[in-house]
């Protein structure tokens, strides 16, 4: 049996211990003279940058029974398939319209809306409750709006899962590697006891490519871009089309916009 | 008696715990009146063939030591290091964590750092290091070693006779280092050069010659027991027999002689006699082995054996089946831990069986000596006694676990069972002061003399204060115990710290509560005090 700090902390409820920052033993000289080279430290030229990353999902284009975005996302991110709804790990998934927008489904909505299963993601909130509750700051919000997870720090306490109003976070209750069909070596897997979620493909943005789901969508239903940039495609869409956001009244400031 | 002036209780409570400015090796001992016991008289040492009998007092500058006293002590130490694993080990492994410090009643009562068991042991350990370890020989003080000088010897005397060998420190020591063992060896060494206290040696000499520590001769013992039988008849209307030196008795009964010579022990003794009469026990007292208390324990292992030998010898002579022992503390330490080893095997006796209940006392099958509370608890449990606890209604009792039965035997429940069956008003003292954590009366191990009264009152303070709390809380007026030294010295202690509390043995309760066949209506208890009145 290999000891697992996550198990331990889960059992002991000793999340207080983890307030200690992991970097306390990196000496100052190591940080300053070696890791931070002079005149460097910015993203490479071709990396995509933004002030506020956001995504628009055009529900008029999104077709039923298509899972291209999900398949692409889960494949490159090594999302495991446990074959068991209780243990399910998901970055993109679908839900009935009525549960995606519980406040927006009138009693006499037609068959089209009733049957519709819009894709749902992490909303990369302006005001993310998951970040606020994380005891180790494993979940944090980048200045470009991406709500990121540092798996190294996650202790599996699942406070973020309790805090997220969208159910966008999944816990690896089991070792995910044996349940990952084809491992993509360019992206790490997780270990048992770590929570995961959509990261807006920040590793792809750093290399200058759009998120995998956006690329994979043959209907071009997904538009990704800088909502803060008046000239961006997504900004134009949001200005011209009517959009809904999930449970926006909660004040979380979700950044996935559903176009109708 | 002593000329020392004893401070008032309030004054005594002003205890200074801050250690002195000077290091302990550089702080000489101060023989302050009231805190030490008189040296043994020459006649007592001579009676016991012990070395260096002379007229001296610890307050003298010249202790009239033999010429080669240092060599005698060092040879004695070497001998004992080879004979006692406890001594050698306890010299070596103490880490001076200090957990024992505030467990000692003498330290709590005096604040003298050399009364911390750890430092009291260091007094002798420092000499051990100097003469018996390489580091001590080479590095001296740096290794915690020091020369054996007359001042060191005086310090030993002062502090080894401020230890009642109660073993409370040993309960708390992570290695079980027992100051009692160290004190016993320390006193043996002092005895080798004739430095001992009269209050331990005179009783020992008396016991050796007359069989009991007060030196009472056979006729006196008989008179006293008859007198107690008269008192019993007066209180109950029942005439109990007084069997003495009776051959063919089933059981030899041995109890501390204080039980038949001094109040309040006499009432306990009356309790025994009534009990034995009531159950028809075929027993006998002995005038030769008329002392249970072994004053050798306060002198040396050899002296323990010399005095203790009488009990088996007398049991053999009288042809009894087994031996029953009365309520006594250090008597029971000797019987429980030393008697069989020293003077056994007692193969001429039978394994003890209660003739009344048929119970076999498995735990005493080799030593063949049963504690009276074990015996009586068994009688009560088997319904052999008719008891009326309401006759003890005027007693509001708390119970003092005597050190030796507590920490050198483990006798806790038997007396409590008897108390619960004979007394309706029983209140325990604070948890930290009873059972294995019980506090000493402050006057055991030969220190119950009057010249040492201030130290007794200091050492007994923790016990007395625990009693005072139950007096305040529950209106306790009586302190029960199963030790003759307790009955003698706790009385003084109570008068000083908690006036109004008197002391009794557990079998006095039994005597009061026991409903005897053909007894008259009782109006008083064994003390002649009205029953029911408060």
């Amino acid at each position: 049996m290999t000891p697992n700090r996550r198990d331990f902390l889960k059992i002991a409820g000793a999340s207080a211990l983890t307030i200690m920052t992991p970097a306390i033993f990196v000496p100052a000289w190591a940080k300053n003279s070696i890791v931070m080279p002079p005149g460097q430290g910015l993203a490479p030229q071709k990396a995509l940058a933004a002030k506020r990353w956001a995504m628009a999902v055009d529900l008029t284009k999104c077709t039923a029974n298509c899972a291209d975005c999900i398949v692409a996302c889960h494949a490159i991110h090594n999302v495991p398939e446990f074959g068991n709804p209780k243990d399910e790990v998901k970055w993109i998934w679908t839900e009935p319209f009525a549960s995606v927008f519980p406040g927006e489904s009138p009693a006499y909505s037609g068959e089209k809306l009733q049957k519709m299963r819009p894709p749902v993601f992490c909303n990369h909130c302006e005001n993310p409750p998951c970040v606020r509750v994380c005891p180790t700051k494993a979940t944090f919000r980048r200045s470009d709006g991406i709500v990121m997870m540092d798996y190294h720090r996650c202790i599996g306490c699942r406070l973020c899962m309790a805090a997220c109003p969208y159910g966008a976070r999944s816990m690896n209750y089991r070792d995910p590697r044996p349940f990952t069909a084809k491992i993509n070596p360019d992206f790490p897997t997780r270990t048992k006891g770590v929570v995961e979620k959509c990261n807006f493909c920040e590793e792809r943005l750093a290399k200058g490519t759009l998120p995998a789901c956006v690329e994979a969508c043959r209907q071009k239903a997904l538009t990704f871009g800088d909502a803060d940039d008046p000239r961006s495609d997504i900004r134009r869409l949001l200005e011209t089309r009517f959009s809904l956001r999930r449970r926006a009244h909660l004040g979380t400031g979700p950044q996935i916009y559903y176009l109708l | 008696m002593s000329t020392a002036k004893i401070p008032e209780p309030d004054e005594l409570m002003q205890i200074k715990y801050a250690p002195p400015q000077t290091a302990w090796m550089e702080t000489p001992v101060d023989f302050r009146p009231g805190t030490w016991s008189y040296g043994a008289a020459a006649k007592n040492l001579a009676a016991l063939d012990m070395p260096n009998p002379r007229a001296w007092q610890p307050s003298d500058a010249d202790w009239k030591l033999p010429e080669n006293w240092r060599q005698i002590i060092l040879d004695g130490m070497k001998e004992r290091l080879d004979k006692y694993r406890s001594f050698r080990l306890f010299m070596d492994i103490c880490v001076r964590c200090g957990a024992c410090a505030d467990k000692c009643h003498f330290y709590i009562g005096s604040g003298d750092p050399k009364n911390m068991p750890v430092l009291r042991a260091e007094l002798i350990r420092s000499v051990y290091r100097r003469y018996f370890t390489a580091s001590g020989r080479c590095f001296g003080k740096l290794a915690g070693a020091r020369d054996l000088t007359v001042d060191v010897l005086k310090e030993w005397f002062y502090y080894f006779y401020q230890c009642t060998e109660c073993r409370r420190c040993s309960v708390f020591c992570p290695y079980g280092i027992d100051q009692a063992e160290i004190t016993m060896i320390g006193r043996e060494l002092l005895n080798l050069v004739g430095c001992n206290i009269n209050w331990a040696l005179e009783p020992a000499a008396n016991c050796f010659r007359t069989g009991n520590h007060l030196g009472i001769q056979p006729g006196g013992i008989k008179d006293m027991l008859e007198f107690l039988a008269d008192d019993i008849e007066d209180r109950t209307g029942v005439r109990v027999e007084v069997p003495i030196n009776k051959k063919g008795a089933d059981i030899l009964f041995v109890t501390p002689s204080a039980d038949y010579f001094a109040d309040p022990g006499t009432y306990t003794c009356m309790g025994y006699m009534m009990l034995f009469h009531e159950i028809g026990l075929n027993y006998t007292f002995s005038t030769y082995a008329s002392e249970g208390g072994n004053f050798g324990l306060f002198t040396s292992h050899e002296m323990i054996k010399r005095l203790n030998a009488k009990i088996y010898a007398e049991a053999k002579r009288l042809g009894v089946k087994w031996i029953l022992g009365g309520e006594c503390g250090h008597m029971w330490r000797v019987i429980h831990q030393y008697m069989d080893t020293m003077n056994g095997p007692a193969d001429f006796l039978e394994e003890p069986v209660s003739p009344i209940t048929g119970t076999r006392f498995e735990n005493a099958k080799s030593t063949k000596m049963v504690h009276i509370t074990e015996f009586t608890a068994d009688l009560i449990k088997n319904g052999k006694l008719k008891l009326d606890p309401s006759r003890n209604d005027h007693v509001r009792l708390t119970f003092h676990d005597s050190c030796n039965p507590a920490r050198a035997m483990g006798l806790f429940e038997e007396p409590r069972y008897i108390i619960q069956k004979t007394c309706d008003h029983f209140y325990e003292m604070a948890e930290d002061t009873i059972r294995e954590k019980t506090f000493c009366c402050g006057a055991g191990a030969g220190l119950g003399n009057d010249e040492n009264l201030e130290m007794r009152m200091r050492g007994g303070m923790p016990r007395a204060m625990a009693v005072r709390e139950v007096v305040k809380k529950h209106g306790v007026n009586r302190l029960g115990c199963i030790c003759a030294i307790d009955r003698a010295t706790l009385t003084t202690l109570m008068d000083y710290w908690v006036p109004g509390v008197s002391v009794m043995g557990v079998h006095e309760l039994v005597g009061n509560a026991l409903v005897m066949k053909s007894e008259k209506e009782r109006s008083t208890d064994l003390r002649g005090e009205k029953i029911g009145g408060s």
Binding site: F25 | I93, H301, E302, M342, A406, R407, A408, G410
Partner: protein, 330 residues
């Protein structure tokens, strides 16, 4: 002066650093080929000598300190551990002492409040004492990774368990933190409490400072000034396979660490630290309280001069007869 011992202990530890510094500076690494064997012999031989010395002294009497009800009448519940009536109880009692510091757990603190002594719970000494000892044991066992190839699972398992908080890289060992915490407590206690300061000898401070220095140099090497672990392991494996070779180069920290460790190991059996072996022999703890049901034999039990009944009767015969007491000889 009470603080003199503390000062001397500081000086002694500083002085010990000199040979290490000298060895590093003067490239006397050849010492590392032979010295460790001497140290090990002192350690092993020392402990065997001490234990045999203790064991040669007999236990003449059965003197367990009884901290619970004895086994007497069948209906009275006895305390089988605090007052063992059989070997299992004694083993349990010793296990409690060795592994859990049972007696120290009883520790209390006496204070005079409102003119009377009160006894408060004082478990900190137990807590930090146990923590210190367990940490020291774990830290020592973890070092087996340098002395075994392939590394024993015990060492890897302990390291994994010990580092499972995964704080920092290399992972911070919990036992290192608890060891230091224990040391700090034990040291401060010795310095701050006047009574404990008063009884403290040079060796009491020296032991704590020595272990603290070992822990500090170890932690510095692990987290701040890394050393070449391959070289360390090769050195250690050289020792245990009797093919020692001096390391090519190593940091002064490593020499300091080694120097202090050698001093500790060599000194351990000859000092108060021998309590780690001595506790097993403590007669007040390891004995069964059955002295009344089984005779304990004292190997040097010799006859003593007693006062016989015959002598007694000779002196008191007339008085006994006068009192109507039976006598043996008329």
């Amino acid at each position: 002066m009470p603080m003199r011992n503390l000062g001397l202990a500081f000086v002694a530890v500083l002085l010990l650093a000199l040979p290490a510094a000298a060895a590093a500076a003067a490239d006397m690494t050849a010492l590392l080929v032979v010295l460790p064997y001497g140290v090990f012999v002192l350690f092993l031989g020392g402990f065997v000598y001490r234990v045999v010395r203790w064991a040669k002294a007999p236990v003449p009497f059965r003197i367990p300190t009884t901290c619970g009800q004895e086994k007497s009448l069948p209906w009275i519940h006895n305390n089988p551990v605090e007052n063992p009536a059989g070997p299992l109880g004694a083993i349990g009692r010793m296990a409690g002492e060795v592994f859990l510091f049972r007696s120290l757990f009883r520790n209390s603190q006496t204070e005079i409040v409102d003119g009377r002594p009160v006894y408060g719970s004082a478990k900190w000494l137990w807590f930090f004492g146990l923590m210190f000892h367990v940490s020291l044991l774990i830290a020592a066992l973890r070092h087996l990774r340098f002395f075994t190839e392939p590394v024993v699972p015990l060492a890897t398992g302990l390291s994994a368990l010990d580092g499972f908080l995964e704080i920092g890289v290399p992972a911070l060992y919990i036992s290192d933190v608890t060891l230091l915490a224990g040391l700090v407590f034990l040291f401060l206690r010795r310095v701050v409490l006047p009574q404990v300061r008063y009884i403290s000898l040079f060796s009491d401070y020296f032991a704590l400072l020595l272990i603290a220095t070992i822990a500090a140099t170890g932690l510095l090497m692990r987290h701040f000034f890394p050393v070449d672990l391959n070289a360390v392991k090769t050195l250690a494996m050289g020792w245990v396979s009797f093919a020692p070779s001096a390391p090519a180069d190593a940091s002064i920290l490593f020499y300091l660490h080694l120097c202090f460790v050698f001093v500790l190991i060599a000194w351990l059996p000859w000092s108060k630290l021998s309590h780690m072996a001595g506790i097993f022999l403590s007669p007040t703890r390891n004995q069964i309280n059955n002295s009344r049901s089984r005779r304990h034999v004292n190997p040097w039990n010799a006859p003593v001069k007693v006062h016989t009944y015959a002598e007694y009767e000779d002196e008191f015969r007339d008085k006994m007869k006068a009192a109507g007491l039976p006598v043996e000889k008329e």
